[in-house]
Each structure stands twice: as C-alpha cells, then as structure tokens.
Amino acid sequence: MINNDDQCVISVQHVNKEYGNKQVLHDISLNVFKAEIFGILGPSGSGKTTLVKILIGMEQRSSGDVYILGTLMPKLNMLQQIGYMAQSDALYTELTALENLEFFASLYGVRGQHRSQRIQEVMELVNLKEHLYKQVGQYSGGMKRRLSLAISLLHEPALLILDEPTVGIDPILRQSIWRELRSLTAKGTTIVLTTHVMDEAEKCDRLGMIRDGELLAVDSPQALIDATQSSTLEEAFIHYGGIRS
C-alpha cells in the first residue's frame, strides 16, 4: 500500500484494537485522499470513535500502522496539522467563548494579530460572532457544538477529524456547516468525520461503513448504493452488514 504518495493523507494498514479480550477493531485498512470528505458511518458502539482516536494517537492500536501525511503515527508534532473535535464539546464552561478560543489558539502557537484575526474568522464561520464575549456555560447545546468546531479550525489544519460534528445542530445551521466543510476542502483541507446519520453520510465524498469493529465497505455513497442494487444508503448498509452475519 502506498503511504508516501502525497495525495494519500491517511493510510490505515491492518489496524486491530483489543480491550482486554474484547476486540473492538478488526483488521481495518483504508486510505483517505487529499481534499476529500471521508465519512465513517456506523451505529454507536461500532468502533468509530476508537478508530478516529487511533488515527491521531489518543488511543493505542494493538497492531497495524497508521500514516498521516506519510508520517508514522503517533507523532506529537503531527498534531499541529490536525484539527480534532471530539464527541463531547470539551469546553471550559466557566470561561467566555473568546477565552476558550484564545487558550486553544495559543496551544497551537497561533498568536498576536493573527490570533485575533483567526478567532473572528472561525466565529463568523459558525455564526457565533455576537456571542464571543458570552460565558460558555450560558450557551445552548448547539452553540457549544459550533464553538467546539470553531476551535478545531483555529490553526487551519491540513486534516480535520470530526467525531459526530452535527449532533444537536439544527438543520439550517447543519447545512451551513456542510457548506463550510465543502469550502475547506476546496482550499485543500482533508476531512474525516464520523456519523450515524444516513442522510449526512450521503454528503461525504467517500464512506467507510463500519459495524462491530469491522470495515464492511469503502466507496462513494452512490457506488455503494449501486453495487448492492439498493435504493438508499440504509439498504446498502443492511446489505453489507447482512452478508457477514
């Protein structure tokens, strides 16, 4: 498998993960290419979060290799090029949005004039500009999610990893976030996101279907539907899942 190809942003090779006796990921191999939105689709408990955490090195793999931009992970300075948004909002609720943004920007080495500029840009992007000085504890669930996304964009990462990014966000805003993700890919950013929602999965360029820690299929949503002669992605998922069991 190629991992020095600069078009290949993530290369996962035969990754297994065990917790004690329980195998949560079985021999996962996949490639994610530059400037695409790669969706990991699967029900909760299927191993999506474990997989993305292994990608950035927050979770140790039991065997197999992960390369990001040609570098074998985990590697600390690669985190500078990755934006990560976890399932939990992970915000300091006693601080204001601005204080949260300033803190995380500093961790990524974004400072001074550039920092204030980036904070304005990302807050505009997630439509929270007028709430910049508000304490995060007063934010609604959707607002927290958007702020969390804004933080992961601060340092203009080449790779964005989003764990269930649009949970609890209203449909109109979800649409605008997707528009934004598209414009990021247009600038060359690669995005990996996890989802359990079929209609969201359909918007991805390519999809990896995962169930019980096994990668069922990887292709574009349309190709997956066509290959299984299904009419919807859900049917395709059932088809792939069904063959196995």
Binding site: I82, A86, Q87, A90, Y108
Partner: protein, 342 residues
C-alpha cells in the same frame, strides 16, 4: 410506592458504587481507631537533662518515670535541648535548681511542670524547701495551645484546600473532555503538569499570604521567625498538595469520589502532623508520619514560627517537600500516558 422506588434506586446506586459504600462503612472506622490511638495515648514522660551529675531532684524525677540524661558540659546539654533530645534541662545554681524548658509544645511544658511539682514534693520532705527557677528556651508559660496548633493548622488548611480544588479541577478536565482536547494539540504532557503547577502556584501564593497574614496579625498566633520562610514552606506544601491531588484525581470518576480522599489522605495527616505529641504513639504509627507531607510542613512551620529558626533547621523538611512534589509531578506525567503515549 414512588417513595419505595426512590429508596430502591438509591440503594441500587450505592450497590453499584462500591467505593462510596466502602467509604461510608470503613473510613469512619479507620478515622475513629486513629483518634482512639491519638487521644488515649499513654502518659507522656518527659526527657530531663542534667549536667555532670544527677541531683536529688533529677533522681526523684527518674522515679516518677522521666528519663534522665546526663551531659558533660552545659553547652552540650543546651544543644540537646535545642534539638529536642530533652524537654528540660536542670542545672544547679548554688542550691537553687534552674529549670530550662524547651517550650515549643504547651502540652509537654505542662507535663514537665507537673513532673517538677511532684518531684519537688518528694525532695522537700527530706531537705529544706527551695523554689526552682523556671525559664524557657522557646515560647513561654503563657503560650496558648493555639500558638502550637496555629502553625500546623495553617499548613493543614493550605494542603487540604489546594489538594481538593486542584484534584477536582483536573478531574473535571478529564470528565468534560477538555483533557482529551488538550492532548489532541501539540502540547507536551509535562507542559500540562507544569502549567497546572504554575497556575495554581500563583493562587497558592496569594492564599498562603492571606492565611499566614491573618493567623499572625489578626489571630495573633505566636510568630518569632521570618515571614518569608513561612511563605516558602506553605508554597512547597501546596505544590505537594496540588500534584498529589492531580494524581489521585485519576483514581476518582466524579467529584464525590474525590471528596472521599479526604478521610483517607487528609485526616490521618492531621493526626500525625504533630498537632498532638507523637512520642506517645506506637512506633509503627509514628513511622507512617514520615511519608506524610503535612508532617514535614508542620515541623518546618513550628521551627520558624515558635522556635524562630532559619534555613539550616528547615532545609531538610523543605527538600523533602520538594522531593514529594517532584515525585508526584513525574507520576502525573506518566499517568497522562494513559490518554496519550507521546
């Protein structure tokens, strides 16, 4: 019916949380047995020093259970008194006994005085009545119990609050996911630990200033030493509390479980800190005190505040506190490996 359901649910929650259950049942037993050991400690028998030879007074004291140590010269004896090898030194000036009491612990002062009174009664039946002259190396007769407890409690309070607050805030980093987010940035693990030490260090400095100032100036607790040393001791003590709190927060899954460390970590330290005379405790219990940070903090605080000692007397205590902080910090950095190996 609904109440029944409520009761059942609460019981079930307890059964699921075995730790809380164990704490409710077992921790009080531990604390109570410690208290019984400390408070029903044997009668304290002071160590008495005499120069060159025993007097009739010291012989009478020995009969009453005191340990009498004989020193060749007076400077040697005074040195022993300052090192607290002996609690009082008896010399004879003409025929009048001069009693010099070490004086930093009111409860020991009292037992020395009691011993003196009893032995005087025995001696005076055989000889003419004479009145000993009592003086103090440190402190004085009117030194109150709070003067002794004060320096220790300053240390205890600082340790307690820093331990709890630092522990809970680090715990919250873990439970709210901000720790995970921190670790997804290029920050190094040691930078997180040092960041905590720095951030809390500033607050601790203010806290130490406030508590020490209040105790000394407002409460009027005896203070004969250098205020700078008091600050230095309290800061080192709180560094230890901070790093220990962070470390133990890894073993708690919520704030309640963090609170459960109070009877396990804080209370025993208070009892063995020197608040009550340790010499009457069983040896194994005294030894436990040697692994407790507050013991060293309290020892140094008493040295500075009551005995007016300087760097040479407190340096060992301070180095040990520093060592505690370094060990706990290192363990913290290692513990973060659980979340991110690099």
């Amino acid at each position: 019916m609904r109440i029944g359901a409520m009761i059942l649910r609460i019981l079930r929650q307890f059964i699921h949380d075995k730790r809380t259950m164990a704490l409710m049942f077992i921790a009080p037993l531990i604390v109570l047995s410690l208290m019984s050991l400390v408070f029903s400690g044997k009668e304290y028998h002071p160590n008495i020093g005499v120069v060159s030879q025993a007097s009739s007074l010291s012989t009478a004291m020995e009969k009453l259970g005191a340990k009498v140590l004989i020193y060749n010269t007076e400077p040697l004896a005074t040195q022993a008194l300052d090192n607290r090898d002996i609690d009082a030194l008896i010399t004879l000036k003409e025929t009048i006994p001069q009693v010099l009491i070490e004086g930093s612990d009111p409860s020991i002062n009292k037992s020395v005085q009691l011993l003196l009174e009893k032995s005087m009664n025995q001696v005076s039946t055989t000889q003419v009545q004479f009145k000993p002259e009592i003086s103090f190396l440190h402190g004085s007769l009117d030194m109150a119990v709070i003067d002794r407890f004060g320096p220790i409690m300053i240390g205890v309070f600082i340790f307690f609050f820093v331990f709890l607050i630092a522990g809970i805030s680090f715990l919250r980093e873990r439970t709210t996911g901000t720790l995970e987010r921190l670790l997804s940035t290029p920050i190094k693990r040691w930078e997180i630990v040092i960041g905590y030490v720095g951030g809390f260090g500033i607050f601790t400095l203010i806290q130490a200033l406030l508590i020490s100032f209040f105790s000394i100036k407002v409460l009027g607790i005896m203070m004969v030493g250098n205020f700078g040393y008091v600050l230095l001791i309290t800061i080192l003590l709180s560094m230890t509390a901070l790093t220990l709190g962070m470390l133990l927060s890894a073993f708690a899954s919520n704030e309640l479980q963090m609170m459960q460390f109070i009877p396990l970590i804080i209370v025993p330290q208070i009892f063995l800190s020197g608040l009550l005379p340790l010499n009457t405790l069983p040896l194994w219990l005294q030894k436990i005190g040697y692994v407790m940070p507050i013991y060293y903090g309290a020892d140094a605080m008493i040295d500075v505040m009551i005995r007016g000692k300087g760097w040479s007397h407190i340096s060992t205590d301070l180095y040990i506190l520093l060592l505690f902080s370094l060990i706990f910090s290192t363990l913290n950095i290692l513990a973060l490996r659980k979340h991110r190996t690099m």
